[in-house]
């Protein structure tokens, strides 16, 4: 079972005023549930775990845009630091894909993969899929099935967040940053209709804001 930091359902998070939050979002958020610094520290550890397991062979890191980009950038930085500072290091290449399956905050069943190099580039490599959040698990399961056909050497999934929800298919990624409650979370590149990607902490979206930024 992947180790993860659990944020419990009754965790009230921190008062907004105790952290630096962009002024234009002050009315839209209820609380800071995961400060940026905690995300960074947890990511640093995940990088070490990943290199420990996958460091034996060329790693292709596949970033799922757009939500995954900040976690991806920070994770890559920590992996590169480990590569630079140890006696053995492993080549790391990157690629980016988009999965379209969201509108407002309801997860639909339709998943479309857009962009990325030829998937044949993944044959025989250690593939690390980097995602921001896993909820139902259906998006990830669909992607894994697709990648399986390219015959990679190994495929692992690292997700910053896994939601604790009855809608989950039961799928668990190989590397998990935090397990979070079934609330609508924004910040650190998690969006609500493209807003809040410029917030560095992960926060709980207020009901008022859901209406305000509705599509």
């Amino acid at each position: 079972m992947a180790a993860c930091l659990e944020i419990f359902d009754d965790d009230k998070g921190h008062e907004l005023s105790l952290f630096c939050v962009p002024k234009h979002y002050e009315e839209d958020l209820d609380s800071v549930i995961i400060p940026n610094g905690l995300i960074k520290d947890r990511t640093e550890r995940l990088a070490r775990d990943i290199v420990g397991d996958m460091g034996g062979h060329h790693i292709v890191a596949l970033c799922v845009l757009k939500g995954g980009y900040k976690f991806f950038a920070d994770l890559m930085d920590y992996i590169k630091a480990l590569n630079q500072n140890s006696d053995k290091s492993v080549p790391l290449t990157v690629d980016f894909i988009r999965l379209k399956s969201y509108a407002n905050d309801q997860s639909t069943n339709c998943v479309k993969v857009i962009g990325g190099d030829e998937l044949s580039a993944l044959t025989g490599k250690n593939v690390l899929i980097v995602e921001d959040i896993v909820e139902t698990g259906k998006t990830m399961e669909t992607l894994l099935a697709l990648l399986h056909d390219c015959n990679p050497k190994m495929v692992k999934v690292a997700s910053l967040l896994v939601k604790r929800t009855p809608r989950s298919s039961g799928y668990r990624p190989d590397y998990i940053g935090f397990e979070v409650p079934d609330k609508y979370l924004v910040g650190y590149a998690l969006d609500y209709n493209e807003y809040f990607r410029d917030l560095s902490h992960i926060c709980v979206l207020s009901d008022k804001a859901k209406e305000k930024y509705k599509v």
């Binding site: 180790a3 993860c4 930091l5 921190h14 008062e15 005023s17 105790l18 952290f19 630096c20 400060p35 940026n36 610094g37 905690l38 995300i39 960074k40 520290d41 947890r42 640093e44 550890r45 070490r48 902490h201």
Partner: protein
């Protein structure tokens, strides 16, 4: 004590860590291998300390950003908090219309043996702190326990006739042995555990640990004087 320029109270002064909070499992974070077994948990991760400092720096800038700020850093435990706090104050001040001049002075206080606070307080540092006269002074301390040390230090600083004196404490201990009065700026209010890391030591050990952690019984014995 609050010092907000428009007279309104700050909504909440500090992150409060409740008695009974177990901290985070060590396996979820990176920490130096040489402390394996010597610490119980990660109590406050380094990243959260940095985020909280950013917010405190913003508050300090709001209150004291108009005139040259004299920072009085209490060594050795205060050195990391001071360095990171001053960095953050300067970074945030750079983006305002009037960048702030910050000067730092250092003093040393010796009052702990093993994990017990002793009665004597030795203050060493610049003999001539007359640079503080007429200035806004910010005392930067890593941890306020009983508050006795802080009261002694304040009495000492007042003799140099500064304009104002404010205190920033990264950690303040709560509980029956805790400080009666909160510093002006507080990072975290914590229960009465002996914590190490982020420049806080146990007989000079653990200053090289980034996170704030609770020391284990094994650690206390291993590094006992």
């Amino acid at each position: 004590m609050d010092g907000r320029l428009d007279g309104t109270e700050r909504k909440q002064k500090s992150v409060v860590i409740q008695e009974g909070w177990p901290g985070y499992n060590l396996e979820l974070f990176n920490y130096p291998e040489h402390y394996h077994g010597d610490i119980e948990n990660v109590y406050i991760p380094h990243g959260v300390i940095m985020d909280r400092i950013e917010s405190i720096a913003r508050d300090i800038l709001e209150d004291l950003g108009q005139h040259t700020l004299m920072v009085l850093c209490v060594l050795k435990g205060g050195y990391k908090f001071c360095a990171d706090l001053v960095d953050s104050i300067k970074a945030q001040s750079r983006s305002t219309n009037c960048p702030l001049t910050v000067r730092v002075e250092f003093i040393r206080l010796k009052s702990y043996l093993n994990d017990r606070s002793t009665e004597d307080l030795h203050i060493t540092g610049p003999d001539d702190l007359s640079v503080l006269r007429g200035k806004n002074v910010l005392i930067v301390e890593a941890i306020v326990g009983t508050g006795k040390t802080m009261m002694s230090l304040l009495k000492h600083v007042v003799t140099f006739q500064p304009k104002t004196i404010k205190v920033a404490g990264l950690l303040v201990k709560q509980g029956p042995n805790g400080a009666a009065m909160l510093p002006d700026y507080v990072g975290f209010v914590i229960p009465n555990h002996f914590v190490v890391g982020y420049a806080l030591d146990y007989n000079e050990y653990f200053r090289d640990l980034d996170h704030i952690c609770v020391i284990s019984e094994k650690g206390k014995l291993k590094y006992k004087v």
